[in-house]
């Protein structure tokens, strides 16, 4: 796999959307190509940081509301 193709498919690789064969081919490329590996690590960290925005300490008011709601089920 060329660097150009690896970078073109990198997002789908990180999103786990590639088929098994393409996934393995890209993983092999990243093992051998330092530049693409660095790019992949950077994008992976950004993706992780984005995922982190989806968790926030629920306020006590919401916790109480949830408890009352579940108690009413």
């Amino acid at each position: 796999m060329s660097c150009e193709e690896a970078l073109r498919r990198l997002a789908e690789y990180l999103d786990r959307e590639l088929d098994r064969r393409s996934d393995a081919a890209l993983a092999r490329h990243l093992e051998r190509c330092r530049a693409c590996f660095s790019r992949a690590e950077f994008e992976r960290k950004l993706k992780q940081a984005l995922r982190g925005t989806g968790s926030r300490r629920a306020p006590e008011r919401l916790r109480s509301r949830i408890k009352s709601l579940v108690d009413s089920f």
Partner: protein
């Protein structure tokens, strides 16, 4: 299902409350609306509890219900059916933060991309995400924040998988462009005493 099912449901929901609230906050961008969204989603989830076949999949199932609940509200609020966005390419050319970080003026750093990711605060990421146009923002929330696959995100958004793929690409490009601008404005990427290296 009897009392034990309710207790189990309550315990799982309590465990996931921060994820539910955080996700809801990204969807609604408003604390009060986020709390309402979580409550509505939980009521729906309880009503549909028999549809959950694998208890191990509870988190994904619940996040999907939350997303679906928001999408229903969002569609209802929209005055007209979704049409292709004007100029879906946003600001034009694809933008890569990684490539920007490898400009010569940043080479004083041994590892600029690592330093940049660490320098961005959670609020920076939230602000950049919240500022995206809704179709892009929702694609990123579903795939990157909630962890849905493209097919699932497409079903939730009511668009083809190819549209999810292209919106994600454009959304990530805009998001990285916004982070880059913020990093320059905040002096996160400038060498000491060279804070105007724009």
């Amino acid at each position: 299902m009897g009392r034990s099912a309710r207790e189990l449901f309550g315990a799982e929901v309590e465990r996931l409350s921060d994820r539910l609230y955080g996700s809801a906050l990204r969807f609604t961008r408003n604390a009060e609306d986020a709390e309402d969204l979580v409550a509505e989603a939980l009521a729906k989830a309880w009503a549909k509890r028999d549809e959950l076949r694998d208890p191990q999949a509870f988190e994904g199932w619940l996040l999907r219900i939350l997303a679906n609940t928001f999408m229903s509200q969002w569609r209802h609020r929209r005055a007209s059916p979704e049409v292709p966005m004007q100029g879906e390419d946003g600001e034009g050319e694809p933008f890569s933060l990684f490539e920007r970080l490898h400009q010569p003026f940043l080479l004083w750093w041994s590892n600029p991309e690592d330093a940049a990711v660490q320098a961005f605060l959670r609020e920076d990421m939230e602000r950049a995400l919240d500022a995206l146009p809704d179709p892009y923002r929702l694609a990123v929330i579903l795939v990157d924040v909630q962890g849905h696959g493209y097919a699932d995100a497409a079903a939730l958004l009511g668009v083809p998988v190819g549209t999810v793929r292209s919106r994600l690409a454009r959304a990530r490009s805009q998001l990285q462009r916004e982070l880059w601008r913020h990093a320059l404005d905040a002096g996160l990427l400038s060498p000491p005493r060279k804070r105007s290296a724009r």
